[in-house]
């Protein structure tokens, strides 16, 4: 075969601002923390607020992680995610109540084991629920956003009602496992123990998701499949299986988020997941669709900013999230580090 004639497009150097642009979102967090310090003044308050804000961000990230997959990557607007969070919480908390002996004992090992079991149970149930949800509710509406909103809201209502049928209409109050209660105090700052657990879980999850999405083709297949599913199939991939798999994973992560959130709130209601949905959507959108890193940074920003603002000017706390979203979108209409382009 002949070689094609040479073709050498002209390349000039990248400008400095282009280079900084890529790293900018990562820099936001340290910048915010420093600004927070300057504004707050008192070191102990600042430390308390910063650590608990980061931990809150982690919990939000855990809940948003599933949505990054389902909404960010697969482009499915799934309000059912909120219901999965609730179901996860109910299942997990039920397990914890059964394991009352383990949670009541002042042993970290037993406590964490109980939480782990609860998480596994919750993830299994929500994963299975996600599977059914995908098959019955979501499948006919791939690619149609409005219909997705409607059917998944329908699904959300149905699942919430079923929670009422199974667990009754009352909210369930619970107490955290013994060793996760209370706070650790140092340097005048008090940090809830449970938040430290949340930080650990969030970090592990973040790293695991990054690895899976970087090392495998799954992310690529999903992104390509959303754009042109026919072509992905013509390349030999069973797109349906991949989609179902990712959807199940997203739902299971919602279950994990539910358990974590339920344990934080210490009271669970059927509507608890739904209440978090807007916040979770905001995180995924400001992070940039499909980006685990973006959602992570976004969640941390939300957590920190919420705390700082609530401390400095409580009146503004009402709109801190919305203000953050608007600001980020004005700066980057596609979110901070988009992997998928928004339509």
């Amino acid at each position: 075969m002949s070689a094609a004639p040479d073709h050498k497009p002209t390349f000039a150097d990248l400008s400095l601002s282009d280079r900084i642009g890529k790293a900018a979102p990562y820099l936001l967090i340290p910048v915010l923390v420093v600004l927070g310090f300057l504004a707050i003044g008192s070191t102990s308050s600042w430390l308390t607020l910063t650590v608990s804000g980061l931990a809150m961000g982690m919990m939000i990230f855990i809940m948003a992680s599933g949505l990054t997959l389902v909404f960010g990557l697969m482009d499915i607007i799934n309000f059912g995610h909120g219901a999965f969070i609730s179901v996860g919480a109910f299942v997990g908390i039920t397990v914890l109540i059964w394991l009352g002996g383990w949670t009541g004992a002042p042993s970290l090992v037993l406590n964490v084991a109980a939480v782990l079991l609860a998480v596994v149970a919750a993830m299994c149930v929500t994963g299975a629920l996600g599977w059914g949800f995908e098959r019955v509710i979501v499948r006919p509406v791939y690619g149609a956003h409005l219909k997705q909103i409607l059917v998944t809201v329908g699904g959300l209502i149905v699942i919430e009602q079923l929670i009422h049928v199974v667990w009754g209409p009352e909210e369930i109050f619970l107490n955290r496992p013994e060793t996760l209660k209370g706070a650790i105090t140092f340097a005048g700052a008090a940090i809830e123990r449970y938040r430290l657990l949340a930080v650990a879980v969030g970090l592990v999850l973040f790293i695991a998701m990054r690895l899976v999405l970087r090392r495998t083709r799954i992310g690529l297949i999903v992104r390509a499949g959303v754009q042109n599913g026919e072509m992905v199939e013509a390349l030999g991939y069973r797109l349906r299986l991949v989609f179902i798999g990712v959807f199940i994973a997203g739902s299971a992560l919602a279950g994990l988020g539910g358990v974590m959130w339920g344990l934080y709130q210490e009271v669970i209601t059927a509507g608890m997941g739904e209440e978090m949905m807007i916040l979770v959507f905001i995180v995924v959108i400001i992070g940039g669709l499909g980006s685990v890193e973006g959602a992570f940074i976004g969640a941390l920003l939300v957590g920190l900013l919420q705390n700082y603002i609530a401390f400095l000017e409580p009146k503004l706390a009402l709109i801190s999230n919305i203000g953050l979203m608007t600001a980020v979108l004005m700066w980057r209409p596609q979110g901070m580090m988009p992997v998928v382009k928004a339509k």
């Binding site: 509710i137 006919p140 509406v141 956003h145 409005l146 219909k147 909103i149 409607l150 059917v151 809201v153 329908g154 699904g155 959300l156 209502i157 149905v158 919430e160 009602q161 079923l162 009422h164 049928v165 807007i278 905001i282 959108i285 009402l318 709109i319 919305i322 979203m325 608007t326 979108l329 209409p333 596609q334 928004a342 339509k343």
Partner: protein
């Protein structure tokens, strides 16, 4: 003549024509066909939601813009009437001032939001509207001195529009101010609907459809896309606000839950989709069916639950308190069975 009234947009399906006629007649004669507080309430609500949904469809179905702020505009109209009635006192002038002010405020707000955010991606607009709408909801709750906060406002409307104003009997039905009020709502809604029908079938309407299909090309053949989008947004907002004013006149109460809540936004979405996006007639069917379901599903379930007494499990699921469950199922099924909406279904003849 009729064609002109409908702006040349005929139903194009016999069943659809019949359905529309039935709805029209039923609404026009509601006080006499279905006497009773409940049914008049339902009829008025149907009228108002038809207009509200149609105005949303102008945005969503015809222009392809997803907005979550439609209830905000609806609320602006409602609060306009409420505030003017509270502050100017009971009277027609207050109603008119409130309506006009609400519609203007809605249009101006829509203009600002639109100019600010319609230049970029659709999702950006959707999120900004969501943000602004929730900010407004927060504001309404915070300014409780002015807006009554979460509790809302009660106020009085001209006596001629209340049950206290008695006019005598017609066809064995007591005609009072409430009936007059109903006809005010009905007439205004009819006019607004025909106006919207005209707009979507005008050259302007066609451009909106082109923009929905391919804004890139629309721009390339010389349409200033942003202007069209902004105009559509403003029109839709103004009409929604007027619908809100009518709602306020009818209800004599406004509160965040009745006008601003996200739940109503979802209801509107569902009505648009069930009826059929991108056709004004879809709004009529969608609103009628949904409002009926919302109002009578519970009673219906009560009956069904009685009837199935003795069977296992079924009466539990049919318990009227579980009506939300079935509403959820309705959400799902309607999207399932009417992917192109009822109108699309009827028109394609299948």
């Amino acid at each position: 003549m009729l064609t002109r009234l409908l702006s040349g947009d005929k139903p194009r399906s016999t069943v659809l024509t019949v359905l529309l006629l039935v709805i029209l007649v039923a609404l026009a004669l509601a006080p006499f066909l279905f006497p009773g507080v409940r049914s008049l309430e339902t009829a008025a609500r149907i009228c108002i939601f038809i207009v509200l949904v149609a105005s949303y469809d102008l945005l969503l179905g015809y222009t392809g813009i997803v907005s979550f702020a439609h209830t905000m505009f609806f609320g602006l109209g409602a609060y306009g009437v409420a505030l003017s009635s509270v502050h100017m006192g009971r009277g027609w002038g207050a109603l008119l001032t409130g309506t006009v002010a609400g519609a203007l405020a809605a249009a101006v707000l829509a203009l600002v939001i639109g100019l600010f955010s319609l230049r970029v991606r659709a999702i950006f607009f959707a999120m900004i509207t969501l943000a602004v709408a929730s900010a407004v909801a927060v504001l309404v709750s915070q300014l409780s001195g002015l807006t009554g906060g979460e509790d809302g406002l009660n106020y009085q409307i001209p006596r001629e529009l209340t049950p206290a104003f008695r006019l005598g009997e017609l066809f064995g039905v007591r005609v009072n101010g409430k009936v007059l009020n109903y006809y005010l709502v009905f007439g205004a809604c009819l006019v607004l609907f025909l106006l919207l029908l005209r707009i979507v079938n005008s050259p302007f309407g066609r451009v909106l459809q082109a923009i929905r299909e391919n804004d890139f090309r629309a721009e390339a053949i010389g349409y200033r896309v942003v202007w069209y989008r902004v105009t559509a947004t403003c029109l839709s907002a103004a009409v929604a606000a007027i619908a809100g004013s009518l709602f306020a006149i009818w209800l004599r109460y406004v509160g965040p839950d009745t006008t601003l809540s996200f739940e109503i936004m979802l209801d509107i979405l569902l009505m648009v989709v069930i009826g059929g996006m991108g056709t004004m007639y879809g709004a009529v069917l969608g609103a009628t069916i949904f409002v009926l379901a919302q109002n009578y599903l519970q009673s219906l379930m009560g009956v069904a639950s009685e009837a199935t007494q003795g069977l296992p499990l079924i009466p539990d699921l049919l318990d009227p308190n579980r009506w939300l469950l079935w509403l959820g199922v309705l959400f799902i099924l309607s999207v399932y069975f009417f992917p192109t909406g009822i109108v699309g279904r009827l028109r394609s003849g299948r």
